[in-house]
Subunit: 180 residues, 2 copies
DNA sequence: GTGACATAATTGCTTGCACAAGCATATACA
DNA sequence: TGTATATGCTTGTGCAAGCAATTATGTCAC
């Protein structure tokens, strides 16, 4: 793809484009902040950590390679290393050498980690509902989902190296009793 | 509102709710990263700084009170202080005491800042198009906008004190020649 | 088997943000 | 006028994240 900086054509964005873009940014920031604030306040658990627990919980055996986990939580590898260190220090995760490739590490959810997730999930899910899901009907959510998927599909390229923000997602619908 | 942590009802989120929520997070992260990467690569300008320039450019007189600016760019007050310091060091902004209230500061866009914005805007707008706007039709953008506005409307409360993420938005459609 | 290169994760360093405390000014009220 | 309180911004501090460099392991060619 040509350098995005130098494209010859740059008509201003249309009103719809601009408005949609702005509300997209604002909605994400506002909602995300609220969820973070509420989860930390009620559970002492940052969203990024919650997200890691969820991903591990929904992985087979509660274990995931570091790289794969980093991709799933949209964090850089180094960022994930530190995050998992914290979780390890708190007893929620342990690390073990990958049996099939000694270069790799497995992050494994401990029983304590699973328990922590179970405790925290209801709070977080309530937050997601109250700041996000409850504002829209099922049909509207479906519509939103499809629009967003369309955005994701057309991305010029899957990011290479480091992913990076952080996120937070409840488990895969029916995984542990707390994805629910 | 009752503590979100303790809500008595916590049915799991529905598939639609979950799917929409996940794609929302992922889309934001992926798109935002791409824009940041491209703007820094092509213009040496982080999105947060670009956003401040845009907000100032579209304000009357190119000036804004610090607090108001912080609210607009969704940054904490202290965060904005530091950001404006950086811009000031780079000559893109200057500060002056607010004439009507000596406690306040005005951040004022300099000619150099305006020029910098003019240079950077085409690149950024191209990025917004290629990673966001071009994926959807005008109708779809309109639809997306309305769904997101609905989310924003129903927020339990406008955040009090410190806002905080960062964002990036092109100017108000018809402001300077670079909002366009 | 040995050497060149790829890949996984970690470590050092830098940057940017938020929270809390502090300083200066403004406002209310006696 | 003088004192108490609120407001606007900045500074001190700590933390989390990314990039670049490093270490350890795996893979392939020969």
């Amino acid at each position: 793809m040509p350098s995005p900086g130098a494209g010859p054509a740059h008509p201003p964005l249309s009103q719809s484009q601009l408005a949609a873009w702005r509300s997209f940014l604002r909605a994400h920031t506002v909602i995300t902040r609220a969820l973070e604030r509420e989860l930390v306040a009620s559970q002492r658990l940052p969203l990024a950590e919650y997200d890691v627990l969820v991903q591990l919980d929904s992985a087979p055996g509660g274990a995931l390679r570091m790289s794969q986990l980093a991709d799933q939580v949209l964090l850089s590898r180094s960022g994930l290393t530190r995050l998992v260190e914290r979780l390890e220090g708190a007893g929620m995760v342990r690390r073990q050498v990958c049996p099939s490739d000694a270069r790799g590490s497995l992050a494994v959810l401990t029983e304590a980690g699973r328990e922590r997730l179970r405790e925290a999930a209801p709070s977080h899910l309530n937050s997601v509902r109250s700041h996000f899901a409850d504002a829209l009907t099922e049909d509207q959510l479906e519509e939103l989902h499809q629009l967003l998927e369309r955005l994701l599909e057309q991305l010029p390229e899957g990011d290479p190296g480091e992913g990076g923000c952080s996120a937070v997602e409840p488990g895969p619908a029916e995984a542990g009793e707390c994805g629910a």
